[in-house]
Symmetry: D2
Subunit: 215 residues, 4 copies
């Protein structure tokens, strides 16, 4: 039976992915902060002692609260450096992804079009996207896919915190609505259930035609 | 019943997409050059008189033979301007995509990492990718998705023509093999059968981790 | 003495470049539409009979009037295909750039962030940028630089035509003003007078921090 | 008199920039590791107590030695997180750039085409490029330019350490040679002496046509 670990699997996009994978009979471990907190490297290492391999790994974590550049403290940088970058690196350095497996990174469209309010997230998610791109070439030899999904505005608690007037904001979007977490879950499900293996080393905007950069 | 028009549907990637769509009970019209030849605008207009609407449209066409820049004639430019750009524009100006539909463009990864041998293809496929990106915002209002798939080395007759020693070439690829047309077909199938609608205005490298650009 | 041909050199950005080059004792031929009209291939070929070589070439031309996608005719596409793409290709196929020379392309930031109003320009300027990138590798062998400058909102007659209320628009820009054509001219002057030769195959946004894409 | 602080100004690219700026009568403080070590935040903060403002700032630092992903330790990540990212952030949070000034970031072309051997550098230089892009919009209000120069293979001690056979490597480059640090210095000089102010928020490949990505 195929196994999956979904980080941040107890809510939002992570939860939706977990449910989509369960739909196709995958044995999903949807982690919550109690299981692994990527902002705390001790927690990460502890998790990796018990969880040494998986077929599918979903690298997913929430982002920091919005903060002006001048107000970001050294502790803020270091905390989110762990949460958005170093925790993920530590996981990939230590976990075995089984041959023919998949790794999905849930990043954010701010990696391409960075956002002042989300400056920490823009920086560290971009940093990890570089690492992930490089590693995709190594994982390819074992037929393991690395797929970076960069969501735009998705209907999660976080978006509701970040956006003051969601109804008004939605009118400004090309699709006149936020994306649903389930759409990301189902997209991933479609890739896995159809055994799409040549899709790797790729960053996929998932933003309802909202971004402006041509590629 | 859902209908699809697959341009260049009689061989290669187009054929594979047609078969994947038939798998999910879509009524597919897989065109051959007899039905529509995008390099000939009269043929395009004739086709559009009979085929005025569809739910799903796959914009797909072969590329020109490799040619050195200095050897490309005005006629070459104009022929492939029609085939790779103007034919597709004419179609989108005239065909009705039904609400909640999908348009997939099969371009090439040369749009991001252009290739001397494929200079004509690099140019005009990039040009159409710009148009497609712009239109994705308009189509979004009718819940129609525009998804640009940019394949890398795929196991088609064309690749065999372009690459001298395919076996040797495959060893240089991260996955040690060409991609299969069926993988693209199945990827598209996965999107449609799972009703993934927030994925639009996006260019998706489909190249087995072969490209080097980070995004 | 160093020679330069500046296409579209009688006004706007082209004129400013011409003047900047004259400042550093370059023998500039600033062409007007009477000398060469890149939308007319016969005019291009006639020009190339008389002008067979240069040290510096500035590929520069105005863009089409804004037009909705559905209103663009086959003749429109073909006219601007010539003006923005095929004329430039024909020139590069036929003119000799002397060793250690420079070719500057004045494109537009719409090649990265395409614009509905400027759909024709977005498409064909991107197409030529692909060709230019490819050729940069060949020209490099003769120490000839290919530099693609992609201007944002510049204070030209054209911008005043495109933007309804320029004063209001300027307030929305990061620098609270349009760029001046002279800034582009002086930028190019600085590269040439300082003999900067390793800068090639590059696209340089020139937009006063206005674009949003990270690179 | 115009003042400049050039980080890492005692050797390589930093030294060349310092000398180019001195050429145009700028009062340059070319720092060495004794003055400020961006990998040590205490050193950074000490520096910032004495140096509270400047007209021109050059953010420049060496990169880490090549290391395989699996061999990178937590200490390595943290050291270079400081050196390539957090040190620069701390500087920009605390130093005053005088109105009409310039900030140049010397990053690397690995931010666009990441490199397995330079995985740490690819990650953190990309992260800081995101921050720099965001800040360019704020600095624009004070007519301060943020210009990210992304060098390719430059003739420095570092390149000689990274590349085994430099002579052989040079043959593989489009220009058949490494770039010279002076070319970067002179490029920057040309921008400043010509008062080019509308060039901001831009990443400029400086790699002799070596990169393959179209933009």
């Amino acid at each position: 039976m195929t196994s999956a670990i979904v980080l941040g699997g107890s809510r939002g996009i992570g939860k939706a992915i977990s449910e989509s994978l369960k739909d196709i009979e995958i044995d999903v471990f949807a982690t919550s902060k109690k299981d692994i907190d990527t902002s705390d490297l001790d927690s990460v290492r502890k998790f990796l002692k018990k969880h040494t391999q998986t077929d599918i790994l979903i690298l997913n974590t929430g982002g920091p609260p919005p903060k002006q550049f001048l107000d970001i403290t050294e502790d803020d940088w270091k905390l989110y450096h762990n949460q958005l970058f170093l925790g993920f690196c530590t996981i990939l350095q230590n976990i075995k992804i089984n041959d023919d497996g998949y790794i999905f990174l849930i990043s954010s469209n701010v990696i391409k079009e960075p956002n002042e309010k989300l400056i920490i997230s823009s920086a560290y998610r971009a940093a990890f996207s570089e690492v992930f791109k490089i590693l995709s070439k190594n994982y390819a030899e074992k037929n393991i896919n690395c797929i970076n999904i960069a969501p735009g505005p998705i209907n999660t608690d976080r978006t509701k915190e970040l956006i003051e007037n969601v109804k008004e904001f939605e009118k400004s979007l090309p699709m006149k609505r936020l994306g649903e977490p389930e759409e990301i879950g189902n997209f991933i499900k479609g890739i896995i259930e159809n055994n799409v293996k040549y899709l790797s080393g790729v960053t996929i905007n998932f933003d309802g035609a909202n971004s402006n950069y041509v590629f």
